[in-house]
């Protein structure tokens, strides 16, 4: 058995993971990153839009500052976020973007003079100042008061990922790809590293470390329809949750995007609707204008997804071999607009659908997009329950997104949190020594070997891995999607209980030798069903609607009872998650109020509760300095 030793073991080499590793390496510690795929293929590279930071350099970003960014983030979260964390984030974001520029990111820059932009299909003019020439510029994104999204053409995630990975190479950080962590090594108090499966050979390895950070991204793949890469399957969440002492924060908080293409659920940008595209049903008729006469297609992500689902339930969906969908129509925007402003949409339509969006309709449906849910940490990124264990990025519930994250805020989170949490890990590591109990290591390896042996030899049953996985994915699609209600969630929980039983009885069809995928899928199946169950059970209990969590039977946001965060534990041997609750935020810099979009009524929180926690803010609610 190969054993590796390092100061900091980072599981996951996306932007968050590599940023954490850089911080440790810069401070003289040995850092090692593990990744299922070569680091640059991590899902971070798929983000095109950009990342938010209040630099305020461009004309439409004038007057922007970190206070306004903080306010947008808290409102965006539907007051579901930790406000101390949102503050840390907004304040550090501009520094972090400049650091990325120093490391090599080719950010787009301010070009002085007159230029045009589109809003709601209309053309407007803007003037960039000469004195700002060459500073980092920004574009517009939903839910923000100012143009704040820094970008590099249409490949922000890719460009930043390249730079970060280059930085790791420069610092001599070991980044091992085709390595999948399958369990944590711990003694119930301290984390000591992980058991890892090599995806080249299929062999197990041990990686021991003084500190471990889980940065494995989101788990969209437990849903059938998702914009996420195939490796976003919850591996990191599962190994933490499986310890029985680490909770998943706000599992019910999952974001859906209205326009994934059918069949592959690849994302086509919100820009299509922003620029005047419309949604059509099976009769090729518009419907959003019926449900939302004011905003129509331009209502927020969660609202549009809800009405699309509703409309399909009314029998107005288009039937296809891949299930029902609706149409996105951008034909009327014309050739020039499509081949310049929507270049990437044009390419996606061409490559994946064989459709020309100038003359044909694009098949779309709402699809899972982002997991606000995650491994619960405190504001230092330290995971609840285990010493020496940290988490950052989409994998974590650090909690600056609450119940809805804003576009451009998650890519920014990866590097900002990576920096802050990396720094806290450096503090932790400084002068820290640990003892590794080899008995614990050996017994954890043995446990994994036995699991693999049992699955390969059909010791527990003979069920098909992919059938059971499909059952889980479909249960979530039915019960825990855009709309939720009591009956649907109860049915989902009871279906998943059956699925859980089945997940313990799977066996391989193949022999499982070498870099076998069926074995990888089997090893995480039960953990995935547990995550699914946490979502369903937490959603059933939360009798209100907040951000992306929408209960048809409880349409109000209920601050009186639900201004809190769910913590879902899975105790050893249990068949159901144990739900606990903690205060959403220790302080209110911005007391609960109206988001200003999405409609709905609010049941206010107890006045005294809020008042006791209000702290002084440097800004008023509309972002003006006091």
């Amino acid at each position: 058995m190969q054993t590796y030793y390092t100061d900091l073991l980072v599981i996951g080499a996306g932007l968050a993971g590599e940023r954490v590793a850089c911080e440790a390496a810069q401070n003289g510690f040995k850092a090692t990153c593990l990744s299922i795929v070569p680091a640059r293929r991590s899902h971070s590279s798929a983000a095109q839009g950009g990342m938010q930071a209040a630099l305020g350099n461009c004309a439409k970003g004038e007057g922007d500052n970190t206070d306004v960014h903080f306010l947008d983030t808290v409102k965006g979260s539907d007051w579901g976020c930790d406000q101390e964390v949102a503050r840390l984030f907004a304040d550090a974001a501009p520094i972090e973007m400049r650091r990325l520029a120093h490391w090599g990111v080719p950010w787009n820059r301010v070009v002085p003079g007159k230029s045009f932009f589109f809003k709601g299909g209309e053309k407007f003019e803007k003037f960039e100042k000469k004195e700002n020439e060459g500073l980092i510029t920004a574009r517009s994104f939903g839910g923000t008061a100012k143009w704040r999204t820094c970008y590099t053409s249409d490949g922000t995630g890719h460009a930043v990922m390249c730079t970060m990975d280059n930085r790791c190479a420069e610092l001599g950080i070991d980044v091992f790809d085709k390595k999948e962590a399958i369990s944590l090594i711990h003694d119930g108090e301290t984390c000591m590293g992980a058991v890892v499966r090599c995806l080249r050979t299929g062999k197990l390895e041990v990686h021991l470390a003084k500190a471990t950070a889980i940065c494995t991204g989101g788990f969209g793949r437990i849903y059938k329809a998702t914009t996420n890469a195939v490796i976003c399957d919850g591996g990191g969440h599962i190994i933490a949750h499986e310890t029985g002492i680490v909770p998943i924060g706000n599992p019910e908080s999952i974001q859906f995007h209205p326009t994934g293409i059918v069949p592959t659920d690849i994302l086509v940008t919100e820009g299509c609707r922003g620029d005047g595209g419309t949604l059509l049903d099976c009769n090729e008729e518009r419907f959003m204008n019926i449900y939302e006469p004011d905003k129509a297609e331009l209502a927020s992500r969660d609202v549009v997804s809800r009405w699309m689902t509703h409309h399909m339930r009314e029998g107005k969906g288009v039937k296809s071999p891949y299930g029902e969908h609706l149409w996105l129509d951008i034909r009327h925007l014309g050739d020039k607009h499509i081949s310049t402003k929507l270049r990437e949409v044009d390419e996606i339509c061409h490559h994946f659908l064989g459709v020309d969006p100038r003359t044909e309709l694009i098949p779309v449906r709402p699809t899972q997009h982002y997991t606000m849910a995650g491994i619960r940490t405190n504001k230092d990124g330290a995971v609840y329950g285990l010493k020496g264990l940290y988490s950052a990025g989409e994998a974590a519930c650090w909690d600056m997104h609450g119940f809805n994250r804003l576009g451009g805020n998650s890519l920014a989170e990866t590097v900002v949190a990576g920096g802050i949490i990396g720094n806290k890990i450096v503090e932790f590591l400084s002068g820290y020594e640990t003892k590794i109990d080899t008995k614990i290591v050996a017994s954890e390896v043995k446990r994994q070997e036995e699991r693999i042996h049992d699955i390969t030899h059909g010791r527990n049953g003979k069920l098909n891995v992919y059938d059971v996985r499909n059952e889980m994915q479909e249960a979530l699609m039915r019960g825990c999607f855009v709309f939720r209600n009591k009956e649907g969630l109860e049915e989902c929980v009871s279906t998943l209980q059956g699925t859980m039983e089945k997940s313990r009885k799977v066996a391989l069809v193949s022999n499982g030798a070498g870099p076998n995928h069926e074995l990888a899928a089997a090893l995480k199946l039960e953990g995935q069903v547990r995550l699914a169950m946490c979502i369903a059970q937490a959603a059933l209990m939360r009798t209100e609607s907040r951000g992306s969590h929408n209960r048809e039977d409880f349409p109000e946001r209920n601050d009186a009872e639900w201004l809190n965060r769910t913590l879902a534990y899975w105790r050893e041997g249990a068949d159901m998650p144990e739900l606990q609750y903690e205060d959403t935020t220790p302080v209110f810099e911005l007391p609960p109020g109206d988001r200003g979009y999405g409609g709905g009524t609010i049941i206010p929180a107890d006045e005294k509760y809020v008042k006791d926690r209000v702290i002084d803010s440097p800004v008023t609610e509309i972002g003006k300095k006091k």
């Binding site: 070569p38 293929r41 899902h43 120093h102 890719h158 050979t201 490559h351």
Partner: protein, 246 residues
């Protein structure tokens, strides 16, 4: 619609004793908008779970799924079956180390490339968190980005005659990487330092200029221009060095 597709897939699992490379045939009913991503996953989930291949983003942006599709290197996820004949022959990329079936080790190859090319901005400046960012011309930024669009799929390397003949040839992706830093004003390396890295047969002078690389690049990177640009630049640097020695 309604075609029955025949797949001939290269099979070899080095971890199984006695396994020998061979081709295996599968059939599958074609559905509308089917891509090789959909087809291969269906084959694995419904017919043969031992099949090894790589996908990640399945959206043509990560470079994981490059393979030889009916004789030509390309991205499997953005290949539609309807653009292929009824018989689809799949091989792993040559040049890279084989992991199993259609999966090759691009990760290690590219990581070695980063260290050979020292793929990072070389600067003596220290980052100051309190200062505003250094200014940059937007056009230059866009130029750098255009060269950074490489997704490290490896198609260019596997299509390259030189790379097939000699293991130590850097390939178009590495030379493109150098070009990326040459145009970046933040990188303080001079031509002679670049010459150290690529001014030899493993680098720019090994390239035969047949341009198979650019033909297969799924991102349409201007590899031809970059090779020409570097060859001229390195030629001049070589001349300078010869004259200086005299």
């Amino acid at each position: 619609m309604g075609r029955q597709l025949k797949f001939e897939i290269f099979r070899y699992n080095p971890e199984v004793k006695g396994d020998v490379p061979h081709m295996q045939t599968y059939t599958l009913d074609e559905t509308p908008n089917m891509t090789l991503f959909i087809a291969l996953n269906r084959l694995r989930e419904e017919q043969d779970p031992s099949l090894v291949f790589d996908f990640c983003c399945r959206a043509g942006i990560c470079g994981a799924c490059a393979m030889v599709i009916n004789g030509r290197p390309g991205l499997a996820c953005q290949t539609k079956t309807k653009d292929q004949p009824g018989k689809i022959i799949l091989h792993p990329l040559p040049v890279f180390k084989l992991i199993g079936d259609l999966s090759v080790d691009t990760g290690v190859w590219f990581r070695e490339m980063y260290s050979k090319t020292e793929s990072w901005v070389h600067t003596s400046k220290v980052f100051d968190p309190k200062a505003k960012e250094e200014r940059m011309d937007n056009e230059v930024a866009e130029q750098v980005y255009e060269l950074e669009r490489c997704i490290e799929c490896g198609c260019c390397v596997s299509a390259c005659g030189t790379a097939r003949l000699r293991d130590d040839f850097m390939g178009a992706a590495a030379l493109n990487r150098i070009a990326r830093f040459v145009v970046d004003p933040r990188d303080e390396r001079d031509d002679e330092q670049y010459f150290e890295i690529i001014g030899n047969d493993q680098g720019i002078f090994g390239c035969m200029g047949l341009l198979a690389c650019e033909d297969v690049c799924p991102k349409g990177l201007p590899l031809q221009n970059q090779l020409g640009f570097l060859r001229r630049k390195m030629g001049i640097t070589a001349m300078k060095q010869i004259f200086r020695k005299k």
